[in-house]
């Protein structure tokens, strides 16, 4: 007893020191994590920053030694706009990216529902098989798809691109939704059923509202993937349905200086999706970490 008391007495003065050491260690850790986070963010963002800066330089400055001191000019934007109408390409990008995402969600939600709540022996296999379609390099099926599109009149149409992008993103969308749905307690759906809800009502009134962050982040990811897709958009379109990726591709050149013009065009091409991503970042982060802590 005495010993215990003594020990307590002996320990007592040390306690505040330990606490403050712990607090400062925590602070330190937070500080370092913050520095690390900012550094990483800056490193990742730097190419985009540099592209935006380059878009305001003259062609000669763009290729000279890197410098942040220059008199900004808008001539690249004027030149880029005079060569190709931005609005037409941007409209195509918006229609194709959002159209394909909506279509993919429409197909994937029922698919993921059945896989998550009514799994069979083959569910796992089916999921893996779906993913295997992403393992083939797209150029391998370029000619068959081109012929198919030629015969159905889908070449250079937005419908054609919507179909291709939907199919391209479907495996990822199903996978993501499947994991979100699986994390949802089954009891809630069962309770709904007890109250007399049918499958459709179950999905609309219970499943969708509860997993909305997950669905939103899946949709956002699909929009971004479709927006940036450059292989199919370049190969399946010519003049009518060409999206912004084709617009950018028209400004790089093996003959003559082009860096500043290309940067201006690229800045305009990523601006909508960058703003869109920025506005929806809360949902994105929430969705991506949804169900992570159990």
């Amino acid at each position: 007893m005495t010993t215990a008391k003594n020990q307590t007495v002996a320990r007592a003065p040390a306690a505040p020191a330990t606490r403050s050491a712990l607090a400062s260690a925590l602070l330190n850790r937070r500080l370092w994590l913050g520095v690390l986070g900012w550094t990483l963010a800056l490193v990742i963002f730097f190419p985009i920053f540099w592209m935006i800066v380059t878009g305001f330089k003259t062609e000669a400055e763009a290729i000279a030694d890197p410098s942040l001191i220059f008199s900004p000019t808008l001539e690249n934007y004027a030149e880029v706009q005079s060569r190709a109408g931005y609005a037409k390409f941007a409209l195509n990008s918006v229609v194709v990216a959002f159209g394909s995402t909506l279509l993919a969600l429409l197909i994937a939600i029922p698919a993921a529902y059945s896989m998550a709540f009514l799994p069979t022996k083959r569910t796992k296999g089916t999921l893996l098989w779906m993913l295997s379609t992403k393992m083939l390099p797209p150029v391998g099926v370029l000619v068959p798809i081109y012929l198919l599109f030629r015969d159905t009149g889908l070449l250079d149409t937005r419908t054609g691109l919507v179909i291709v992008y939907t199919l391209m993103n479907l495996p990822i969308v199903v996978w993501m939704l499947y994991t979100f749905f699986k994390d949802m307690p089954k009891d809630i759906l069962e309770a709904g059923r007890m109250d007399g809800a049918g499958t459709l009502q179950e999905v609309i009134y219970l499943l969708l509202p509860l997993t909305l962050p997950g669905i939103a982040s899946t949709g956002l990811l699909a929009v971004i993937l479709s927006w940036n897709e450059a292989f199919w958009s370049l190969n399946l379109t010519s003049s009518q349905a060409a999206p912004l990726t084709a617009y950018i591709a028209s400004f790089s050149s093996p003959e003559g200086l082009f860096w500043a013009k290309l940067s201006a065009a690229s800045t305009m091409a990523i601006a909508p999706i960058l703003i869109f991503g920025w506005l929806t970042q809360k949902q994105m982060v929430r969705g991506l970490t949804f169900g992570a802590v159990k």
């Binding site: 000669a60 290729i63 000279a64 005079s82 060569r83 190709a84 195509n92 229609v95 159209g99 370029l142 000619v143 081109y146 012929l147 030629r150 159905t152 009149g153 889908l154 070449l155 250079d156 149409t157 937005r158 419908t159 054609g160 919507v162 370049l234 190969n235 010519s238 003049s239 009518q240 349905a241 060409a242 084709a246 591709a249 028209s250 400004f251 790089s252 050149s253 093996p254 003959e255 003559g256 200086l257 082009f258």
Partner: protein, 436 residues
């Protein structure tokens, strides 16, 4: 009924703003400066041809080449006019993918087109594409540096002389390099120059039995010379320099000499783009053992794919865009240095052009002196000066280009690079059925 009509989203896409009864043709082209000018003259064409409208697809050269190849090989019919090079024309014509261009109207003056260019775009004696502009290669040098060092440029320099001059003028401490040459790998990049060097050193890509000759003494000599010259007297990092990079280096005053496309002349001579405009000298491309094949011939030309539905309208457009009147139109609107060079004798006889483009004579001589059907000292079975007119060449050229770039950086020796190139090319030619 087409599927696109059935599906709702396509509805809006299909409705474009078109004038009643006007026929729309889709023109695919590369984004080089001369084509950008052509696109900017759309209004002029549509005014003189009110029943035709132009839709443009402008892409970077390599992207465009892949895009057009997919479309023409599958008969996709997405394009009515295609911009293609002298490399594609004979290969595509042989497969009947192009519309032959005989019976051209008299006022088109087909004989005014330079003969070597016309030959490069013909198959079995019929024109398959109309030349939009053409280029060869030549040497650019700095008159001021040559004068200081007391060097006089002869009428026809040799590669040996070039090496001597480069060693005198090289001053790396002041970012003053003896010579700039292409080093970036690619069949249209470093191999364009290396092929002309191999030609003039007496080599060839294939013998008459299509046996690759890359391990021959002529290749060894030419490539060793190239690697030695560029690594000793060239700019640092030369293996990543293509046409653009060298153009920038030379216009900033970093190179004493540069051997490259004649199409650089107008850019170097323009004081807005180049700080050496007033010190610029021109000379023919250097030679070694033979003048044959020492400078290349390339032409961008407009062709009508056999799969086009609007061949008549397309024909009206390509005869307009390659006509004498078009050259005058560009001269008046954009200035005479901007006219598409290398296609018509009349351009070179035009006093306005002669006055504003003092390099015109060199360009004309270079283009007329290039013979794509006879460009090697010993006989060869292929056409093309800086390329081999077979479909397999794109991959062969690029592969060999990568190995030579590796020799330039010192990763491998020239000998190793040429031996592995020879083996790789033999394999490709065997697979393609040229060799047993």
């Amino acid at each position: 009924m087409k599927l696109s009509r059935v599906l709702p989203i396509a509805g809006l896409a299909a409705v474009g703003a078109t004038v009643a009864n006007a026929e729309t043709i889709t023109v695919a082209t590369v984004n080089n400066n001369d084509m950008v000018v052509m696109q900017s003259l759309t209004d002029a064409f549509e005014q003189s041809h009110p029943d035709i409208q132009l839709d443009w697809v402008v892409l970077e050269e390599n992207v465009l080449r892949q895009r057009l190849t997919t479309d023409i090989a599958t008969g996709g019919g997405q394009f009515d006019v295609m911009t293609i090079g002298t490399y594609e024309v004979p290969i595509w014509a042989e497969r009947s993918w192009l519309t032959p261009l005989d019976n051209l109207p008299e006022d088109y003056q087909v004989d005014d087109l330079l003969k070597s260019v016309r030959d490069g775009l013909s198959h079995d004696g019929t024109l398959q594409a109309l030349p939009f502009y053409a280029e060869s290669s030549m040497m650019y040098y700095r008159k001021d540096l040559f004068d200081e060092a007391g060097i006089t440029m002869p009428d026809q320099p040799t590669w040996e002389e070039v090496r001597e001059w480069a060693s005198k003028l090289h001053n790396a401490d002041q970012e003053q390099y003896g010579i700039c040459l292409r080093g970036k790998p690619g069949w249209g990049e470093n191999m364009a120059l290396v092929s002309t060097m191999v030609n003039t050193f007496g080599g060839r890509w294939f013998d008459m039995d299509w046996q690759p000759q890359i391990d021959s003494p002529a290749w060894q000599e030419a490539v060793s010379f190239y690697v030695d010259l560029l690594s000793n007297y060239g700019p640092p990092g030369a293996s990543s320099n293509g046409f653009n990079e060298n153009l920038a280096l030379f216009s900033r005053g970093n190179c004493a000499m540069w051997v490259d496309a004649t199409s650089a002349a107008g850019k170097l001579f323009d004081a807005d783009q180049s700080s050496v405009a007033d010190k610029l000298g021109f000379a023919p491309a250097p030679i070694a053992k033979t003048p044959k094949g020492s400078h290349w011939l390339w032409s961008w030309a407009l062709a009508i794919p056999a799969s086009s539905d609007s061949k008549d309208a397309a024909r009206q457009f390509i005869t307009w865009a390659t006509s004498k009147d078009y050259v005058s139109l560009v001269g008046e609107r954009e200035g005479w240095t901007s006219v598409p060079p290398g296609t018509r004798t009349s351009t070179y006889e035009n006093p306005n052009y002669q006055e504003s483009a003092p390099f015109a004579g060199f360009v004309l001589d270079a283009i007329q002196g290039a013979d794509p059907t006879d460009s090697t000292l010993e006989p060869s079975p292929y056409t093309g000066v800086q390329f081999v007119g077979i479909p397999e060449f794109q991959s062969i050229g690029t592969q060999v280009g990568q190995m030579i770039a590796a020799a330039l950086t010192g990763e491998t020796s020239v000998e190793q690079a040429l031996q592995s190139s020879q083996r790789a090319t033999e394999r490709t030619m065997q697979r393609a059925g040229y060799l047993d």
